[in-house]
């Protein structure tokens, strides 16, 4: 069970991190103002839990939507990037150069143009996870699987749809891994956008908690972010495994 495995990993890391934080507090005698006690964290969770759950669901929805947009866009551009003709070369060169730029730095410009609403968050989430997807897709779609394609080429049956099917199938594990990895990036992009200027989502909640220097609120928000990310990533992995099992007949 991938979901349980991921949740267990997340809970373990979160508990260890909290333990370390409180150990530091005890060793150095930090006040409750700087590092809240476990009881205070629980109290904050009880008081603000529902509000924070709504905020993290809002963030996750934007991240998932941005992720889906990025996958569709990367697939479409990847199909052009696999070509040996000039549009393909141009796409590859543009993709390699653009991905080298820290794209999060353009986020303020996006907020300038689109305001602090949904569209800015969606766009930033999509842009941040788009380039890793695109580079992987171009690499996968452009790389022949010689051992399988040879027969179709020899007998004159090869076409771009068949090539794509073969290359996608042969690299299914790689594609799923890239999609899972970019899912985390989509979450990162959305939260970064909310930190910067948005007026909704868990990033906005954390920003407010930061202004109040309230670590308890931040710890509760981090817990919910981790929980949602783990659930989303394990869902993608499960879907990927299911697709693979269906295709390979395993």
């Amino acid at each position: 069970m991938k979901i349980l495995e991921r949740l267990f990993q997340f809970f373990s890391i979160y508990i260890v991190a909290l333990g370390l934080l409180w150990a530091v507090k005890i060793v150095y005698g930090f006040s409750d103002y700087l590092i809240p006690s476990p009881l205070e964290v629980l109290q904050i969770a009880r008081e603000n839990g529902l509000l924070y759950v709504k905020a993290v669901l809002n963030t996750s929805a934007v991240a998932v939507a941005g992720h889906m947009i990025a996958i569709v866009l990367a697939t479409a551009v990847g199909l052009v990037g696999r070509l040996n003709s000039w549009p393909g070369s141009l796409t590859r060169i543009a993709a390699y150069n653009l991905q080298a730029y820290p794209i999060v730095a353009v986020a303020p410009i996006i907020f300038l143009f689109f305001g602090d609403g949904l569209s800015s968050r969606l766009l930033i989430a999509a842009i941040i996870c788009y380039f890793p997807l695109l580079l992987s897709f171009i690499g996968i779609f452009a790389e022949p699987v010689e051992e399988v394609e040879h027969f179709y080429r020899m007998t004159g049956r090869i076409n771009w749809r068949l090539e794509l099917a073969i290359r996608t199938f042969e690299n299914l594990d790689k594609i799923i891994t890239v999609i899972v990895g970019s899912g985390t990036l989509a979450m990162v992009g959305t939260i970064v956008a909310e930190f910067l200027a948005a007026s909704q989502g868990i990033g906005y909640v954390i920003r407010k908690a930061l202004y109040q220097s309230n670590l308890a609120k931040i710890l509760v928000a981090l817990f919910l972010i981790g929980l949602c990310s783990s659930l989303y990533l394990s869902l993608i992995e499960t879907i990927g495994k299911w697709i693979k099992a269906r295709l390979t007949g395993e």
Binding site: E147, V148, H150, F151, M154, T155, R157, A165, I166, F169, E170, L247, T248, G249
Partner: protein
């Protein structure tokens, strides 16, 4: 079926000496021919040049009009998303369905049609791959180590049956098994070893052309094997 290479030169980009240097060679079908040579002498390169997968740096390859050339090798795989049977049916014309059935029966692969290719042994994979090529349109089939993982009795049976079923086709059978090429080929083309400036000539050795049910004399086989190995090692040809 006729193919001739005239002043053929080829070297892989970025590598050292050429594989072929102004090579003249021809093949006249139909029949079962062997292509033999030690590792790295250029058997696969010649096969890929003839099949059109590679283009010569210089020279030309002349072919009879409208001949269909297929080249297959032992590393090929079937797509993993369908069963062996589904794939074979999808790449076989309806008119050749009975031929496919006969081949699968001969190759003892009838019971594996519901399996995925990845679930087969190496020898079974070789047999399925060869079967799917044999049901295609071809005049010349270049088979590069296609039975490399099949046991010897089965391999001999497959070669005998192939010759029997396709008397009007031409086969260029590439193998490192000198005994096999000596027994089953009507002629073996030998690529000599040790040509640092590229191979210029391929020597032709008439062989035993063993048919189904017949048995070649052991002394004759030994003699041909010796001749082939001598030519392949780069000693003076026959």
């Amino acid at each position: 079926m006729h193919i001739s290479c005239r002043h053929l030169s080829y070297s892989y980009p970025g590598t050292g000496p050429p594989v072929f240097n102004s090579l003249d060679w021809s093949l006249e079908g139909p029949g079962f021919f062997g292509l033999f040579g030690l590792s790295g002498t250029g058997k696969t390169t010649l096969a890929r040049l003839i099949s059109g997968e590679l283009s010569p740096n210089q020279g030309s390859i002349d072919k009879s009009r409208d001949i269909a050339i297929l080249y297959t090798h032992s590393a090929e795989r079937l797509p993993g998303w369908e069963t062996v049977g589904t794939h074979l049916r999808s790449v076989t014309k309806a008119s050749r369905a009975s031929l496919l059935e006969a081949l699968l029966r001969d190759y003892e692969m009838e019971d594996y049609l519901e399996c995925r290719f990845s679930g087969l042994s190496m020898g079974q994979k070789n047999r399925i791959n060869l079967a799917r090529y044999l049901v295609q349109d071809f005049d010349l089939l270049i088979a590069d180590e296609v039975l490399a993982n099949v046991d010897e009795p089965t391999r001999n049976q497959i070669l005998e049956r192939t010759k029997l079923l396709f008397p009007q086709k031409t086969f260029l059978y590439i193998s490192h098994n000198v005994l096999e090429v000596a027994r089953f080929s009507q002629a073996v083309y030998v690529l000599p070893h040790g040509h640092s400036t590229g191979i210029e000539n391929i020597c032709k050795i008439s062989c035993l052309d063993q048919q189904a049910g017949s048995e070649a004399h052991e002394e004759l086989i030994r003699e041909r094997v010796y001749t082939i190995l001598k030519a392949a090692s780069g000693s003076s040809g026959p």
